[in-house]
């Protein structure tokens, strides 16, 4: 299988006047085309930093990040909160990226319209973000990201601001959307169940500075199961316990 992203011994430190804060220590992994990878680790271990590096917002101190051999692939990054701009309508919000890249064409608008329809936001296209529920806002943020037509999606705890019910259904939605569009994705989460049910592999990081502890492939007998259904499959508990143990041990070492 072709890999879309390769990290080779990435290191990164933050610098403050008081001290140097190492955040990432020699992280290497591969992401295959169409794969869904979850990253789990103690809070403050450097997960967001890792995504920033992958998204080229920050530069690694050493090591290399390769994107399908090329220099540059379109990457979508969904942040923890939806950050819809309150003074723009839903449509204006989802077109923000295209507008800035001067790709705000007629076709793009048609595609936006279509995505709004697919994700049940059509009636709200001229509404302001404050008129939307948390789940709707998150979907709008996803459409904004998808419209840039990224090959790789980075999701930084995108559901953590939602209540549990909404969270389950939105993550189900987003899972389906990403699979349908055939995107590769990296999801950062604190939620072990979410990681297991959504991804093909779970990468477990140590406490700060982050190292890769293990990487566990999620193999379910029923490959077509939706995230919600996976939660009641027998393999689920096994994986849950295993990841829990790994994280627990990591904490004791730290």
């Amino acid at each position: 299988m072709q890999s879309i992203l390769t990290l080779q011994e990435i290191c990164y430190s933050y610098h403050t006047l008081q001290k140097e804060v190492p955040a990432i220590r020699k992280i290497s992994f591969d992401l295959h085309q169409g794969e869904f990878l979850s990253i789990i680790g103690p809070s403050g271990c450097g997960k967001s930093t890792l995504l920033n590096l992958i998204c080229r917002l920050q530069k690694p101190d050493s090591g290399e990040i390769l994107y399908r051999g090329k220099e540059d692939i379109p990457i979508g990054y969904m942040l923890q909160r939806d950050h819809l701009l309150e003074w723009r309508t839903v449509t204006q919000n989802i077109l923000l990226g295209l507008e800035m890249q001067k790709k705000d064409t007629k076709e793009a608008r048609e595609k936006a319209e279509e995505l709004l329809k697919t994700y049940q936001l059509r009636e709200f296209r001229d509404a302001y973000p404050r008129q939307l529920s948390g789940g709707m806002r998150q979907r709008a943020a996803l459409i904004r990201t998808l419209l840039m037509d990224p090959d790789l999606l980075l999701l930084d705890e995108p559901f953590s601001a939602l209540d549990y019910q909404t969270r389950l259904s939105v993550s189900d939605d987003i899972y389906r959307i990403i699979r349908k569009e055939g995107k590769s994705a990296i999801l950062v989460t604190h939620d072990i169940s979410e990681a297991i049910s959504m991804s093909d592999r779970v990468l477990i990081l140590s406490a700060c500075p982050a190292r890769v502890l293990t990487c566990i492939p999620m193999q379910f007998a029923d490959r077509q199961a939706a995230p919600l259904e996976k939660r009641s499959l027998p393999e689920f508990n096994e994986y849950f316990n295993r990841i829990w143990r790994e994280l627990h041990e990591a904490k004791q070492i730290a």
């Binding site: 942040l79 950050h83 003074w87």
Partner: protein, 272 residues
Amino acid sequence: MKQNRSPDLPAMSKQEQYIYDHQRRKHRITVWKLAIFLAFLAQWELTTRFDLVNSFIFSSPSRILNTCIEMAENGQLFFHIGITLGETLVSFFLVTVISILASMLLWYFTMASEIAEPYLVILNSLPKSALAPLFIVWFGTGFKTIVIAGMSVAIFGSVINLYQYFRQTDPELIKLIYTLGGGRRHVLTKVLLPGSLPAILSGMKVNIGLCLVGVIIGEFLAARQGLGYLIIYGSQVFKLDWVLMAIFILCVIAMGLYKGVEYLEKHWGTGR
């Protein structure tokens, strides 16, 4: 205060009662506002009329009104009002534009802003009337000087406030712009400027008053026309009718300008 209209009218629902109470309260407030104003005018008129206080130095409402009519007839009044109003509006406009531009530049060039900070703080806290004599020497005694005096009172505070507001913008919003492929320029045009529109508008409400203050200071020192000149000249030749009339008109102008900007704020504030 719970009070039904009258016993023989049908009882109101809770909602109707609420609205009724609300309107009653508002009505009362309006009546009191007016009553205080009229009572003030009445006692002023009466005490001067019966020589309890000296109408030569305290003037009186009727004398002010007469002066007003007299000066309106020969056009002087509108001339002076026009001058002051024009100077205030020009300096207000310049303050608004310049402070938006300056705070954008300061945000864009972070280092420049850190260098400029102490200067801005000093200039902002300096009493601007101390600068007015300098302006006269540098720029003469015309329109330009007065406008600069007007601007000097408002501009530094306005720049500092707006720049601080820019700096407080959620860093995640800025990160969002970069993740969507935008640059620093887009952070300004897509996030900072539209996001600070409420701050800009409420700053404008303060600035319009400050500009008027600066313009009057300028006119005190340097002008041959305008309401500030009228006040100074009136006090020098002991025409206190002029002075008090000018002050009264200033009250009206100050309120009018404030309401005007408030209207703009409401007008532009809708749709968010």
